[in-house]
Assembly symmetry: C2
Homo-oligomer: 334 residues x 2
């Protein structure tokens, strides 16, 4: 397998990407194609003893910054690492694309300029994967489409279901609709109409779910409009960060607390590991015609390795083929 990795995405680019790629090449024996400024990457790569590891470099002159407007960058930076990388997958030179760069730009370039939408898919969706009790929960859309429609959301459910089943290897995944109450009939106009649609689909649909159901692992695939999904994801991240910050302040507040904290260090470490999205690495942009894994801009090398592994799992699970098949028009008998 050949995984294309945007080397210019993380806050510590290209180091996190290069180290992550080396680990991945070593661990998975797959070929990693790093995309970015050839000189910079070549020089950086020389600092590591990579021996005969299957790592290639493909040159891309431009870089899309996190501050670039997606609509403009996707149009004007045709030689960006994201554009070049996605084109490699489109051309069949690579099997999947991983980026920790500008999410909006990756979405726009994949959808409009390179991979394009899978036929029948109305809107691709961005997902997030929560590692809950060491089991993944896939949540979508987290921001591709701020204004969603019931039929788009029904498609998110189908794509999430297929990803959960074939890539995350969850058998018979439970699909839930994020709402402000568990009872049927709770929700806004959008979720009420989506709920009615979801009930007609051949999914294991369990109805409305609330945020606590995600945290308790009561559901495997959670469907939301992109605005609310984005707020949920950011609230989760901000809450964990805030609680950790306060706890750290309090633990430093006197010597006995500090000693306690020191003794409890392993527990804090394993807690962090269990909350850690680096273990997941990234999550798919679903609905475009190829495997695209989006990682966090703050990803470290380990997160990049995990994101590459997400890409491998999606390729091995033939997720794109399953999505294509499920959106194929039913043949009619003439």
């Amino acid at each position: 397998m050949r995984i294309v990795v945007d080397a210019m995405g993380t806050d510590t680019r290209p180091d996190a990407e290069i180290e992550g790629a080396i680990h991945a090449a070593r661990q998975f024996k797959d070929t990693i194609i790093l995309v970015g400024q050839e000189k910079i990457l070549g020089k950086a790569l020389k600092q590591y003893d990579i021996g005969t590891l299957p790592i290639e470099i493909v040159h891309a002159e431009q870089e899309i910054l996190m501050t670039d407007k997606p609509a403009i960058a996707s149009k004007e930076k045709k030689n960006s690492s994201i554009h070049v990388g996605l084109q490699l997958v489109k051309d069949g030179y690579g099997d999947a694309f991983v980026t920790a760069g500008n999410t909006g730009a990756a979405h726009a370039i994949a959808m409009l300029y390179t991979l394009k939408r899978i036929s029948g898919v109305k809107r691709p969706a961005l997902s997030a994967i929560f590692p809950i009790n060491r089991k993944p929960v896939i949540f979508l859309d987290v921001g591709a489409n701020t204004d969603s429609k019931p039929d788009w959301m029904a498609q998110y459910a189908i794509m999430g279901h297929l990803y959960a089943q074939h890539s995350l290897k969850l058998s018979s995944p439970r699909v839930g609709l994020l709402s402000n109450g568990e009872e049927q009939g709770k929700g806004n106009q959008l979720t009420l109409e989506t709920d009615a649609l979801l009930r007609t689909l051949p999914l294991r649909y369990i109805g409305n779910v609330e945020p606590v159901d995600i945290m308790y692992g009561n559901v495997d695939v959670v469907v939301s409009d992109g605005f609310t999904g984005n707020i949920l994801l950011k609230t989760f991240e901000a809450s964990v960060h805030y609680l950790t910050k306060i706890l750290r302040e309090e633990l430093k507040s006197n010597p006995i607390n500090s000693l306690g904290a020191l003794l409890a260090t392993p527990a804090f470490k394993s807690t962090r590991k269990r909350m850690d999205t680096d273990e997941v690495g990234g999550a798919p942009l679903l609905g475009v015609n190829g495997v695209v894994i989006i990682a966090h801009g703050g990803s470290n090398a380990r997160a990049i390795t995990s994101a590459i592994n997400q890409a491998r799992m999606a390729v091995n699970g033939n997720v794109i083929d399953y999505i294509k098949e499920s959106f194929e028009p039913v043949p009619t008998l003439d």
Copy 2:
């Protein structure tokens, strides 16, 4: 001042309410009027040495359960503690109403049957108050109206501003609009239209805010539609609960961790105290013609005392008068 307290709201009713009322009567010297089954309350109250504390009981035959449908309960249980309590405020027998009971029912009974809307208010909003770094942040709507409109949300902003200024005593409160990005232009159709409206109002409007801005106290009043607001609130609660649960599991995993945890107990306690919504107690239902403070169903006595204090602050700050005034039609010169 006379505060009416629904004695039949919490999970541990009427104990939490009675204890909370006793603390409040002792601490604030205000009269507390407990509403519920007279016999039960009288018997329960006898177990405490209340001496000459100004605590009254008003009988209400019925009780609205958390599982009751608000629309039905508000119509059919006219002798519920919520209905009787709100009517006491409506009749001027009490200055404010505090309940930890069925929020939807309290909302419906206040709006449709007793206090009614303040003239000019399109929709009352439910708020939540986050204690961030010991400073309150008021967030609304958290669920009164799952489908909101821009002009309703502009009114939430005005009411939140007035509550922050006159009850929470924040001078020149910063008002923000919850969105999926800080930059102007980020958002869904609803927030984009609301943003345009908010820019025309005489508020200290700081534009879009994200969940992290709430946690960092970068904003004092946060406006949201009721659906998204409800999801944010529940995600915050679920995240804190989830992180705490995992940390507890890990701390119990071996003796050294456990010893560390024991030594660090004061730090955990003060962390919990700083995250603790019991310190706030409750938050107002804004837009109805009287002070209504909604507390969590899981409130303990301390939370009830705090909720009573919220009510006192709102009454002392003349919040209702300020809201009335700001929605008064501007007199025209004929």
